[in-house]
Amino acid sequence: MSAPAQPPGRPHGQPSGLPMVRIRAVRKRFGPLEVLKGIDLDVPAGSVVCVVGPSGSGKSTLLRCVNRLETIDSGRIWVNGELMGYAERGGRLHALRPAELSRQQRGIGMVFQRFHLFPHRTAIENVMEGPVTVLRTPAAQARRQAAELLERVGLADRAHHYPAQLSGGQQQRVAIARSLAMRPSLMLFDEPTSALDPELVQEVLAVMRDLAASGMTMMVVTHEMSFAREVGDQLVFMDDGVVVERGDPREVLAAPRHDRLRAFLGQVL
């Protein structure tokens, strides 16, 4: 298997037909339990893919494999034309060194169900942390950028609050700003609204909607079917470690072809 041909220097943000994420035959097991059983998936640059499925179907694991929080057992994942985790030389794969892995990871933003903001830093310090520590951006410049990002997620007035002083919805918006500060070419969202009280869900979805409209490539694991219908370019239904059904969200949700999806939708809608 070889990397797909990528024209060098494709202008960023231009939706080209080329996939930002290309997942081929990915398998992952935890001990005796096979969690991903051969996943193939393309996420075109600038598009939003929503991943849905019952608990334990492997949605989080798939996202975590894409940004290399988990290693895969077989298959290939390319992000932005780069093979994740390995370099191919002389017909063999060579595992990347930690510094190279970190370089790959910083191009991919990840938003977690439980936010995972750094509790010992204020909102603005959370957003500055990546640029200052990883990119060595001068503090003053990082602070300016962080202030702009907080403005963008509607939290300019909460810049100096600690995470414990913010509501769940506010924390999640800070977490999104923190990821965006690294200027990622891909954003992963793992059930970003599942830990939120119902009245706080919309403020986070609004930020994600804006982000999608700005041309960000996004993979979103979610139970918010209205978000998938409205914002998603593609809906992927996973069950038991395989992709069961995929297609245009409006069509798939209106007329699911598989019984398993129909049963699942019956529960969540």
Partner: protein
């Protein structure tokens, strides 16, 4: 901000407390005991209060006090560094590093400090010379005689610091493990290296768990330094002993030393309180004034 209207009528609570004679009785008994104790101590002629007062600021005592402070601060600093190193090794995925760290804590927690102190003081019997150079009998760049560099002070520092490191390793390890793994993942997905994750994210949060027991270790180290008197370490107790061997004021000198130990531990306890507050950052229980200015917190968010 919307203000609720004040309720129409006030309903002050002006309740009568129940009588609690037992409380008064207990307090009176304890007070009586304390007065009696103070009286017997103060009027006791055998305590030689004049001697105690005369020696409290004696030059030799103050010198010993200074050595005690130096030993405590230096051995805690080195012990903390060793503890962090051992804890990080213990949590690494390299089995050799893990084993080395486990061996270290096992051995130094398994043998008495007193034995270790005497051992370090007499290390010249086992290793007469120390050298920097190629190990296993290769050429040497610099060489020292053990009995030149092993003074009571360096032996004490070695013994206290290495022993302390073994205990600090456990404390630091517990602190690191207390940090939510999600923190590490969030930092990693920003592209931080393992070292950056440790330094910027994990250790600062682990500090909240590490600091209180470290403060206790510091306070107990102030007193543990007195063990160094077995190798004549020139710290507070050694000096007090030297004086009473000359003037036979055994109890008075012990009281002098004890007064200074209490002063040191009291100062350290106050310091501990402030350091702990400093590391509560981000985990503050909000004062009601701050809380009123915030939107309501959701019930589902992680603590």
């Amino acid at each position: 901000m919307t203000q609720e209207k004040a309720p129409a009528a006030e309903l002050p609570i002006d309740a009568v407390r129940p009588a609690r004679p037992g409380r008064w009785l207990g307090a009176a008994a304890a007070l009586l005991f304390l007065v009696w104790l103070a009286f017997t101590v103060i009027v006791n002629e055998n305590l030689h209060w004049d001697v105690i007062v005369a020696y409290l600021a004696d030059g030799r005592i103050l010198g010993g006090l200074w050595v005690t402070i130096q030993l405590t601060v230096l051995s805690m600093a080195i012990g903390l560094a060793l503890g962090v190193l051992a804890a990080v090794m213990q949590l690494s995925d390299n089995p050799v590093l893990r084993g080395t760290s486990a061996l270290y804590t096992w051995f130094f927690r398994g043998t008495p400090l007193l034995v270790q102190l005497i051992f370090w003081f007499n290390i010249g019997l086992v290793f007469p010379t120390f050298a920097i150079g190629v190990p296993f009998g290769g050429p040497k760049l610099i060489e020292w005689q053990a009995n030149e560099i092993i003074t009571p002070f360096t032996a004490a520092l070695l013994g206290l610091a290495i022993n302390e490191g073994a205990y600090m390793a456990e404390i630091v390890r517990a602190g690191i493990r207390s940090v939510d793994p999600g923190q590490r993942e969030a930092a990693e997905s920003l592209g931080m290296s393992h070292r950056q994750v440790l330094r910027r994210v994990v250790l600062p949060q682990a500090m909240r768990v590490i600091i209180p027991p470290t403060g206790n270790q510091f306070i107990s180290m102030l007193k543990t330094t007195s063990m160094v008197s077995v190798i004549a370490g020139a710290e507070l107790l050694t000096v007090a002993q030297r004086i009473y061997l000359g003037n036979f004021e055994v109890i008075a000198m012990l009281v002098v030393a004890s007064i200074w130990y209490v002063v040191l531990t009291t100062i350290a306890s106050v310091g501990q309180h402030f350091v702990e507050k400093r590391f509560e950052r981000g985990h503050v229980r909000l004062s009601s004034r701050v809380r009123r200015n915030l939107r309501p917190l959701t019930s589902k968010e992680p603590s």
